[in-house]
């Protein structure tokens, strides 16, 4: 199966034993911008549980791990300090349950997922369009201005910014809150993940 999941940078930790993969990842993440995704390639199988646990403790978001032969590819998104702050500005919102109900009623409902490619890759609503927030300014014209678009991210914060941007360009958008972090409906992945 084609691996469509990518990070904004790749860190090679193949052949390294603990603690080096996490020591090097921490250094690399310190230089990254909040929201960026790093792909860490490691061969130590024990690194999987450590990466999950470490990310959880630091607040960074562990997205998932792909198995490519003997290599484990861990995807981690650097957290922003104010990531989970409840700060929604765009007036037109619906909650997860309501979107789920509308998706069940109609298979034509358009969902736009503005999380990073790797986040989308591991887990997204079937049929959702993927345009990361950072690419929206240059790609918004790909979207259909005649239909209502449900914009979703992980916690409702990036999708709020996206809604404001798209609304200013004349699109009919609704922000989905809280977003994928608490989504209990159907999901799919772009690649086989663990």
């Amino acid at each position: 199966m084609k691996n469509e999941i990518r990070g904004s940078q790749v860190l090679d930790c193949r052949g390294l034993a603990c603690p080096l993969p996490i020591v090097k990842t921490k250094k690399a993440i310190d230089t990254m911008i909040a929201g960026e995704v790093i792909e860490v390639q490691a061969t130590d199988k024990g690194s999987l549980a450590d990466f999950k646990s470490w990310a959880g403790n630091t607040g960074h978001q562990y997205l998932g791990t792909l198995h490519d032969g003997d290599v484990l590819k861990h995807f981690i998104r650097k957290a922003a300090p104010d990531e989970t702050r409840d700060e929604v500005h765009f007036a037109h919102v619906i909650d997860n349950a309501e979107l789920q109900a509308r998706l069940q009623q109609s298979d034509k409902a358009v969902v736009l997922d503005v999380r990073e490619h790797a986040e989308y890759g591991f887990n997204h609503i079937p049929g959702a369009i993927s345009i990361p927030l950072g690419e929206l300014e240059s790609r918004w014209s790909e979207l259909d201005a005649r239909t209502q678009i449900y914009v979703i991210c992980r916690t409702g914060r990036r999708s709020d910014t996206a809604c404001q941007l798209l609304h200013d360009r004349g699109l009919q958008v609704v922000n989905v809150i809280p977003g994928m972090a608490e989504w209990s409906g159907a999901t799919e992945a772009s690649a086989r993940a663990e």
Partner: protein, 386 residues
Amino acid sequence: MGMTASRSRKPTLMTASELAGMILRKEQLFLLDVRNEGDYQNWRIEGDSITVMNKPYFELLDGVEAIVDECPRNQKLLVVCAKEGSSYFVAEQLMEAGITDVYYLQGGMKSWSEHIEPVKVGELKDGGVLYQFVRLGKGCLSYMIISDGEAAVVDAIRLTDAYEQLARENGAVIKHAIDTHLHADHISGGRKLAEASGASYWLPPKDAEETVFPYSRLEEGSPIAVGHSEIAIQPIYSPGHTIGSTSLLIEDTYLLSGDILFVASIGRPDLAGKAEDWVHDLRSSLYETFSRLDPELIVLPAHYGNRQELREDGSVMARLGDLFHSNPGLNIADQEAFRHAVTSGLPPQPHAYQEIRETNMGKLQPSESEQGDMEIGPNRCAIHDR
């Protein structure tokens, strides 16, 4: 991390064998386990004289200030991780922070899992000896019978050096490697031992239906002789943990009960996916076959579940008659209650047990390091294991 005046002192290496000695002698030790919490909760080093603290190494990347006040300065401190690297990393920082008596475990939990300690169980006729090998890290027990220049090994673990060494020290040649059943919690070293020393590899035929290598049939009525004084190993068919499970009677004194009967519990019937089918076999092996044996027999199982089963000398054994009083698994009068006890609410299955079974059948050939990873974790072959 602050400046340090001198970095000349390094943490001291401790081997699994030295650690085993400390545990058996009940010497005080402070153990800092730096693996992630999940791995620590699942399986860890325990001992009556050990104080344990868990703090993952990845929470100590910027320094050990968070834990240094909790570390004792008047006793040995051993840092343990999965394979060694992270424990050395943390141990070094502890020394820089002023803790002095700091050790790290050579090879980490992987080595601990693989270490076995031989304990002499008893004398056999004409100078024969029976040894029990205690695998403290996983709770596996294996055996060697030595008589007159020949040896038989029962339920050997994957790493066979310790058996070969003990045979050499006793001037014996390993003639038989016997597995009481197809193991699901550890990779058998039986076949490897047999190939290395030209010995026969014995396996119960009903457990060997899918194996892809030749073997000798371990069957009731076909005793195995060790040494010229002919110590007879009498197989007793006792199914239930697996369909082929066979116990071994040695000189009408010792009962090697495999994974059917333990000191504090009994075997689980579900590791081959046939719990319901094997309940009846398990009950009749324990409540009929074993109850007809001499109560004076010394039971020597293939596992133990918790350290309370270890005796003062580090061995695990009990009189069969005593177990019919003290072992909860031998005291369930009602058939239906027994079925319930051995089929529901069982502990989690051992890590990678399917792959381990297939490896023991010869169907999978994992690399040395894959084999080590497959065996990580406790054995959990008894119904009362946690």
